[in-house]
Amino acid sequence: MAIERQPLGPLGAVGAADLRVRSLNSRQLLRGGEIEGPNASAHLEGADFERYVEESVLTTTLDRAVAWARSNSFFPATFGLACCAIEMMSIVAARVDVARFGFEAFRASPRQADLLILSGRVSIKMAPIVRRIYDQMLEPKWAISMGACCSSMGVFNNYALVPADKFMPIDVHVPGCPPRPEALMHGVLKLRKMVQDDPDMGWRERYEARGTEEVVPELTAATPLPPAVDGVGGESIQDTAGA
């Protein structure tokens, strides 16, 4: 069955009537009813129907809406290690104002943050602590490696440093020594674009969590409490509810 897709055309050229007809047709399609007009013969079923809806009807899936919200509200964790931390403080300052994008809420606690900007050199004594902080952050979380020292070894290629890739996944590397605040802003905006385009950014693969998105109905039913043993402890729901 051939699906004819008609381009929408430049915005000014499309007549209002044509757009109205199309939206009425799509509403009919979604209801599963008959459609009139140009595509009257196109009855779609199943997967074809879903694909058609995705491609030609302007809907926003919940995923993309959530990704848009997430990407515009990063809460960076205050994690300054060395010289790059001063330039990271500069993006909070007035010239390159990170508050324009909504990222000025630097959270001190990693549990409230979702973006870890690793700014500075990671020494071998600090690496397990960085990993611990990263683990304490809740999903979805992203990491930006700012500066040359944590992206690669930077200026210092010696026994004392660890490149951040060795112990935690990094999403964006920002080169520079130290990167200008504008460069770091560019990196953060690149991350924002990445999050908008790809909502989970591969973390489901990373944690082998594919197939865990759906809610399994059987597990959401109320589970009964274990029965009372010899009158010691253990009350069932019915008892407490009746009391």
Binding site: C83, S90, A108, I129, Y159, A160
Partner: protein, 424 residues
């Protein structure tokens, strides 16, 4: 804390117990009452915490809210800079050594360049010395601005951060004009400075110098009569000059306690004797004096830069000795010796006669000394930076013992530790 049974402890905890706090607990003696006021709590403060001036970890033993003992644990940003410096030729050490104390990078570079110039007996032209002084004092102002912004942030006066960083951006614009980089500019070279200042630098600098004193007045107006800042800083954690000297503390901390020791006046280097400036000295040695001394130093640094700019002599910006400094590029087309010198300097580096020198300067945090040992080759055999923050950190414990934990935060802020310098 009277615990008679020892729970099984993991290997990690056992290693941490090498820091023994038992002498303190013995001092508490017999408990009176139910022991609730005698229990001591050891809090791990850092290395990642909001009131951070770097990744400093403190093991704080508290009795209620009083600090009974503080043990700093450092090394979380140890970069092996000194070992890396042994691996590189003298010219290439400068970018590495600059990244040590990352707020006062010109000072790190000067300490090292000064030591090598002493070793190699290279004379720095007068214009280069004045240019160095301009950049050093601008760096001092910038370091104090960052200190002020982050310290006020720690105390809760959050808007100071934006004001101080606004000024800092202007200084970084000047650095970008002269060297191309905002931070870690590699501007100081052995024998002088990398390049002469461009056209327009002097005007921009004059404009900055004209408005800077009024800005410092504004910072004073914001903080000096703020009741909360005064209560947090006045009279908290004082330490007298004798204890500070025994602990090896120099810089604004020592000057706040009343001792006017400043290497720029006592043992002038790089033409500091040509300039007229005062040394601000405090009286009580408490946190407020440390704050006031640094604020006053900003005025003095502005004066020094003004004098250096007005008196800037003509001349070369780097030594003429071709065995130490690169020849100017136009000479490479005409002179064979210049080409050979350029080649040798870039591939092998300069050779320095064997010996050991220690070159101390006055950094924003205290005496910054550079010890260089040369064995005659083109790479240094040992570079050691005597960092002021590393030594000043030892004063934390005597300062905060017996004070509240909030005072400890204020003291850490006023101490101005830079962990890059401490850990190197």
């Amino acid at each position: 804390m009277s615990s008679t049974e020892q729970p099984t402890i993991s290997e990690y905890r056992r290693r941490e117990q090498s820091i023994t706090l038992s002498p303190l607990q013995e001092q508490l003696g017999e408990t009176e009452g139910d022991g609730s006021t005698q229990e001591m709590l050891t809090l791990n403060f850092g290395p990642h915490h909001p009131a951070t001036h770097g990744v400093l970890r403190l093991l704080v033993t508290l009795q209620g809210e009083l600090v009974r003992d503080v043990k700093p644990v450092i090394g979380y940003v140890h970069t092996g800079i000194e070992k890396t410096a042994e691996d590189k030729s003298y010219w290439k050490v400068i970018p590495v050594i600059e990244r040590m104390d990352y707020l006062s990078y010109y000072f790190n570079a000067l300490a090292f360049c000064g030591a090598v110039e002493t070793l190699a007996e290279v004379e720095v032209p007068k214009r280069a010395q004045y240019l160095r002084v301009i950049h050093l004092e601008l760096n001092r102002i910038m370091s104090h601005l960052v200190w002020l912004g982050t310290s006020a942030l720690d105390l809760g006066a959050i808007s100071m951060f934006w004001y101080c960083f606004r000024e800092r951006e202007k200084i970084l614009d000047l650095f970008e004009m002269s060297s191309g980089q905002r931070m870690h500019t590699r501007y100081f070279q052995i024998g002088g400075v990398m390049e002469d200042i461009p056209v327009g630098f002097a005007e921009k600098l004059r404009g900055f110098l004209k408005e800077m004193p009024s800005r410092v007045d504004q910072y004073g107006a914001l903080l000096n009569r703020n009741e909360i800042v005064l209560q947090r800083l006045r009279g908290t954690c004082p330490l007298d000059a004798e204890s500070l000297l025994a602990l090896g503390v120099t810089g604004p901390l020592l000057r706040a306690a009343g001792n006017p020791w400043d290497l720029r006046k006592a043992a002038p280097y790089s033409s500091y004797e040509d300039f007229e400036f005062k040394i601000p000295v405090g009286t009580h040695g408490d946190n407020y004096d440390r704050f006031a001394v640094r604020l006053a130093e900003m005025y003095e640094s502005v004066k020094i830069v003004e004098q250096a700019l007005e008196g800037l002599p003509e001349g070369p910006h780097i030594t003429e000795d071709r065995k130490v400094a690169l020849p100017p590029r136009h000479e490479l087309a005409t002179s064979m010796e210049a080409l050979i010198h350029h080649f040798k300097l870039v591939t092998e580096g300069m050779r320095v006669p064997p010996g050991e020198v220690y070159f101390p300067i006055e950094a924003p945090r205290g005496e910054l000394g550079c010890f260089v040992r040369s064995d005659g080759s083109s790479k240094p055999a040992r570079v050691h930076m005597r960092d002021p923050s590393f030594v000043n950190l030892q004063a934390t414990a005597p300062m905060v013992k017996g004070a509240y934990i909030a005072d400890m935060i204020a003291t850490l802020a006023m101490l101005d530790p830079i962990l890059g310098g401490i850990d190197r």
